[in-house]
Each structure stands twice: as structure tokens, then as C-alpha cells.
């Protein structure tokens, strides 16, 4: 079967995929490269000369650093709230079907099928119509939690779909109180899914621009600061901070991947290889 023609077809598909990966990395390459540039003027767009200055002084742009700090605080707070709320929804939805669960599923999917600009502008009209809170830190947290809850609920639900709920009954049969069952049985089992969802929610919050733009008032998150700065200047520190975030998340990914492999290997060692059900 392995004729020359099919081999060429095979190769060309691989080459296409390889080119695709290069395409994906092209801007990343430029971001990292230009973090070593010594720009002439205010825009870090044209390559001038190589320098380590930007990396030696990454926090020289005070407003940029402050904005990064605001983003991290908003991300942390919104992620904690949305992870708790979303995981509770996921737990309720995955146990059994009950009255109204299809309507609730629809409500959860709706924010994902609504463009961000509609979510952002409509929430802003809500805040415009009241006098209790001003646009700022609180409104951004509220906005982030609003779209994170859906993501968390759906992610956690997908992760615990195969969960064996009879384990809870077993615990109850053995005389465990509901609180104890949750602490010792349910929580450890759903924890990986919850953590994965929290990580996703945090990443979404840190990077959100459009919804934040409508609800931030004068509070500047990291993306808003970059947006505002890009009109008058693009300092190379933006590239340095972006490269740092990139390095940090790659490290996180590598750690996660190796730990995941190790724990899977450990599981494979311990557990006899019998597939009871899917």
C-alpha cells in the first residue's frame, strides 16, 4: 500500500502541520526577540540593537507594574469566588438529573455563546443604572466572576462526569457524617478538576480585555494599561513582562506534565489493568 504517492501525501501533511506550528510561534518569537531591543523613540517596533537593559530593569515602567499587580489581585479574588460557585453548580448537576436541569444547562452555556462585547456592554448598563457601586475594582471582579462561573461549572462537570457516586454512599453506610464524607471522599476526588478549572478561570481573568474595558472605570488592569499605552508608546518592558509570563506558564506546564505522567505511572503500577466500565 505504501506507494510513493501516498508517502508524499503523508509527508506533505506533516510539513503543513510543522509550518502551522511555526506560524503559531511567529509572534511569540518576535515578542521575546524585541524584549532585547533598544528602541529608538517611543515605539518598540523596529529592530535597533541588542541589549540586556530591559531584562535588568523589567519593572521600570511603574504604571505597567502597578497594573500587573491590580490584574493579579482581581484574578485571585474573582477566581476564588467563581471556583467555589461554579464547582457547587457542577456538583449539583453531575449527581443526578433533576427538574429544571436542562434549563440550567442552557443558562450556563449562554454566556459562552454571547460575544464578549455584548456581555461587557450589558453589564455596564446595569452598573450605570444604579448608585451603590462605582466602576472600578469591585465591578471588574463582578464581571470576571460572571463569565468565569460558566467556565468553571462546565469544566468541573466534564472532569467529574465518570465519578462513582456510590463511594459517598459507602462512606455513609460506614457511619460517616455528610461533612466528613465530603471532606474525606468527595473533595479529594473532585480536587484535580476543581484546580484545573481554577487555573483556566485565572488565566481568563488575567487576559480579559473586552469585558474589563467596559466595566473598569479608571482602574487599569494589565491589558487595559497596555491598550492605553499602545496609543502613545510601546516600551520594551511590555515584551519583558510578557516573556516572563510566558516562561512562568511554560514552567507550570512542564511541571504539570511531568507530575501528571508520574502520578499516572504510579496509578498504573498500583492498579490491576482491568477495565470494568468506561
Amino acid at each position: 500500500m505504501n506507494t510513493l504517492r501516498s508517502r508524499i501525501a503523508r509527508m506533505s501533511l506533516n510539513v503543513f502541520a510543522g509550518l502551522g506550528l511555526i506560524y503559531l510561534f511567529l509572534p511569540i518569537f518576535f515578542i521575546v526577540l524585541f524584549s532585547f531591543n533598544k528602541p529608538k523613540g517611543k515605539y518598540n517596533i523596529v529592530w535597533q540593537e541588542f541589549t540586556f537593559d530591559n531584562w535588568l530593569d523589567p519593572f521600570s515602567q511603574k504604571s505597567l507594574t502597578a497594573a500587573l499587580w491590580v490584574s493579579l489581585r482581581i484574578g485571585a479574588l474573582a477566581t476564588v469566588i467563581s471556583t467555589v460557585l461554579g464547582s457547587m453548580i457542577a456538583l449539583a448537576l453531575s449527581r443526578r438529573t433533576f427538574k429544571g436541569s436542562s434549563a440550567i444547562n442552557l443558562l450556563l452555556v449562554l454566556p459562552l455563546t454571547t460575544p464578549e462585547i455584548v456581555l461587557g456592554s450589558s453589564l455596564a448598563t446595569l452598573f450605570l443604572n444604579q448608585t451603590y457601586i462605582n466602576f472600578g475594582f469591585v465591578t471588574v471582579v463582578i464581571a470576571h466572576v460572571m463569565f468565569q462561573v460558566s467556565f468553571v461549572a462546565l469544566t468541573v462537570r466534564a472532569r467529574i462526569r465518570g465519578f462513582d457516586w456510590t463511594l459517598e454512599q459507602a462512606a455513609a453506610d460506614l457511619g460517616s457524617t455528610p461533612q466528613r464524607t465530603f471532606r474525606l471522599v468527595t473533595f479529594p476526588l473532585i480536587l484535580p478538576g476543581v484546580l484545573a478549572a481554577a487555573l483556566l478561570a485565572f488565566a481568563l481573568s488575567i487576559d480579559d480585555f473586552i469585558i474589563t474595558f467596559f466595566n473598569a472605570g479608571s482602574t487599569a488592569t494589565f491589558p487595559l494599561q497596555i491598550y492605553g499605552a499602545a496609543r502613545v508608546q510601546i516600551p520594551p518592558q511590555i515584551n519583558v513582562l510578557a516573556s516572563m509570563v510566558l516562561l512562568f506558564s511554560v514552567a507550570l506546564l512542564v511541571v504539570g506534565a511531568t507530575r501528571g505522567q508520574r502520578s499516572e505511572a504510579a496509578k498504573a503500577m498500583k492498579r490491576p489493568k482491568i477495565k470494568i466500565r468506561k
Partner: protein
């Protein structure tokens, strides 16, 4: 106890009523003392459920549990997702007292909608056209990559998948600004094309305009394609990954050519991924304004740019809200039509 046996109905009812109360309060259905009444109803309903759970016995608690677990999250969404949609529609039908006023009066002002269409019809068309082309391009680029990773990745599968995701760990804005550097007139691509003498070809393909790559419709579409590629690639990968290799072997054993095996076995089974990817790409792309702003020119603005400009710069909330509402309704209609035509059972 009949009340305890009906606890699930009561739990659902309480959830619905309290959500409705929050929508009413948030969207401002009532004014003055009526708001206090709504608040009282809300508190009573919540207290009633708690009382039922405490005194209703284990069966009632069992039936009430899922509603209780969901209540905080769903009420948050009622107040900050459903109520805003209502207030958006309300403002879109309101009039401003004067240009600089912040007071809006609800007046069934349909002229906001006709203004939205007459002044910003081009932006609507471009938003849908650009995101449609970008969605097609993400399939063309994303599908082969997902295919190679899923079927030929072998033990490097996870590594390759990680490589696909890593670029998207940098900020969305920074990536888009990086593209504006790459496509700039002094940038590498333009100089490469002019060295190769391909500028005329690209001009003829309408990708370049007067020797420029940046600030063209092609650049905006390219930016959208790049930024939303993972949303297409990953769902396709997930559905390809699920395919049982034995099915392809069976097709080969039955003397199917590789092309026919792909067309009749692999591709149909990967359609749920393409479907999910299309929604995840088209919807955010249609509302995007970042790519058009950094990579486009004043004649390539999309509806997102206009909404943003009218809302945050001109403070013209009624017309901005009308455009938002039209965008929301047309996207919903498209999604419904699309899922009716190509839909699979499961959306997420």
C-alpha cells in the same frame, strides 16, 4: 409529609422566584417602595427554603440539595448576566434628554435601531464577513495540525499539544501588537516578499494594498484567524482523539483508499469538534474590536469598534446598546440555525 416529598418542586420554584426577584431589582422593573416588596419576597423565599431543609427531614434535604448548591452561582448569573441583558434592551429603547445628559427615558425609541443599521450597517457586514472568513481559515489551518497530532503524534502527543497552547499564554493584546510589528512596512514579511518579488502577486490576490500588509482587511482577518485558532484546533483534536483506530483499519481492510477512509470514516466522526470549534471561533471573532483596531484602518472597522466607540467615547448609550442587542440577537439566530442544520446533540 407531602411538603417534604414535593421539596424538589419547591426548591426549583424558590430558585426561579429568587432569580426573578434579582432580575427585577437589577434591571429596575419597579421603583420606590415596590423594590422593598421585591426584596422582602426574595428574603422570605430564601428563608422558607432554609426552614424546609431544617425541619423537612432527610428526604426533603436530599431533594433540596442540588438547588441549594446551585443557588449562589445561579443567582449571581441572574443578577449580573440576565438582568444586564434586560437593562441593555431597555437603554436601547431609551432617549437621552440632551447630548451631555446622563438621564435616559424609556420611550420605545426604535429610531436607535434604525440609526444602528443606517449608520453602522457596513460595520455589521464586515464583522460577519471577516469572522466568517477567519473561521474557515482556522478550520483549514487547524484541522491538519490537529489531525497530525492526534494520529501521528505518538508519544509526543502531549508535547505537541503543549506547543500549540503555549503561544496563547501571552496576553491577547501583546500578541496582536506583535503581529502589527511583524506585518509593518519595515517588518520582515514585507521585505521578504519584496525580495522574492511577490508583492505584485499579493497585490493581485488583494492581500496587500499599495505595498502595505498592515492596515488592510487581510491583516484584520489574519489577526482574527491567529487569535482564535486554538479554539478551533483543540475541539477538533478532542474529537479526532476519540476516534477508534480500528475503524480506520477496518476501512482499509475493506479496500478503502486512504482518501475514502478519511472522507467516510474520520471526517464525519470529527464533525462535532468542527461544530464546537466553529461556534467558539465565530462568536468571539464577530464581537472583536482589538484586531480591527491594531491591524486595520478606518475602513475595516467592525461592529465591536463602533459599539466600543459609541459607548465609551461618545457616551451614546442608547445607540451602542441597540447595536449590542442586534449583535446578540443575530448571533443567537445564527447559532440556532447552524445547530439545526449541522448540530450535534451535545454543545459543550
Amino acid at each position: 409529609m407531602t411538603l417534604a416529598r414535593r421539596a424538589d418542586n419547591l426548591g426549583l420554584g424558590a430558585l426561579a422566584v429568587s432569580a426573578l426577584c434579582l432580575v427585577a431589582l437589577g434591571a429596575g422593573w419597579f421603583s420606590g417602595p415596590l423594590n422593598a416588596v421585591v426584596l422582602l419576597v426574595l428574603v422570605c423565599v430564601l428563608a422558607g427554603v432554609v426552614v424546609l431543609a431544617v425541619f423537612g427531614g432527610p428526604e426533603a434535604r436530599h431533594l433540596l440539595a442540588p438547588y441549594g448548591l446551585m443557588k449562589p452561582g445561579l443567582l449571581w448569573m441572574a443578577l449580573f448576566f440576565l438582568a444586564p441583558v434586560w437593562s441593555l434592551v431597555r437603554i436601547s429603547l431609551s432617549t437621552k434628554e440632551s447630548r451631555f445628559s446622563v438621564q435616559y427615558n424609556f420611550a420605545w425609541a426604535w429610531e436607535n435601531y434604525s440609526r444602528a443599521f443606517s449608520d453602522f450597517g457596513g460595520q455589521f457586514q464586515r464583522a460577519f464577513l471577516y469572522s466568517f472568513i477567519a473561521t474557515i481559515l482556522t478550520i483549514v489551518i487547524g484541522y491538519p495540525i490537529a489531525y497530525v497530532i492526534a494520529f501521528r503524534g505518538g508519544r509526543y502527543k502531549n508535547l505537541l499539544l503543549g506547543l500549540v497552547v503555549i503561544p496563547f499564554f501571552t496576553s491577547y493584546l501583546i500578541r496582536t501588537i506583535a503581529w502589527s510589528t511583524i506585518l509593518a512596512d519595515q517588518g520582515p514579511i514585507v521585505s521578504l516578499l519584496s525580495t522574492l518579488g511577490l508583492v505584485d502577486v499579493f497585490e493581485w490576490l488583494r492581500i496587500m494594498d499599495n505595498g502595505k500588509l498592515i492596515n488592510t482587511p487581510a491583516a484584520v482577518i489574519g489577526g482574527l484567524t491567529y487569535n482564535f485558532l486554538p479554539f478551533m484546533l483543540l475541539p477538533i483534536y478532542v474529537s479526532l482523539e476519540k476516534i477508534d483506530a480500528n475503524l480506520v483499519n477496518a476501512a482499509n481492510d475493506l479496500y478503502s483508499t486512504p482518501t475514502a477512509a478519511f472522507r467516510k470514516v474520520v471526517f464525519p466522526l470529527s464533525l462535532p469538534g468542527v461544530f464546537a470549534g466553529t461556534l467558539l471561533t465565530f462568536i468571539p471573532a464577530a464581537g472583536d474590536f482589538v484586531n480591527a483596531q491594531f491591524l486595520g484602518n478606518p475602513n475595516t472597522t467592525m461592529i465591536g469598534n463602533s459599539i466600543q466607540d459609541q459607548f465609551l467615547r461618545q457616551n451614546n448609550y442608547p445607540v451602542a446598546s441597540a447595536m449590542s442587542a442586534v449583535l446578540m440577537v443575530s448571533i443567537t439566530a445564527l447559532v440556532l440555525l447552524y445547530s439545526r442544520l449541522f448540530g450535534t446533540e451535545e454543545l459543550v
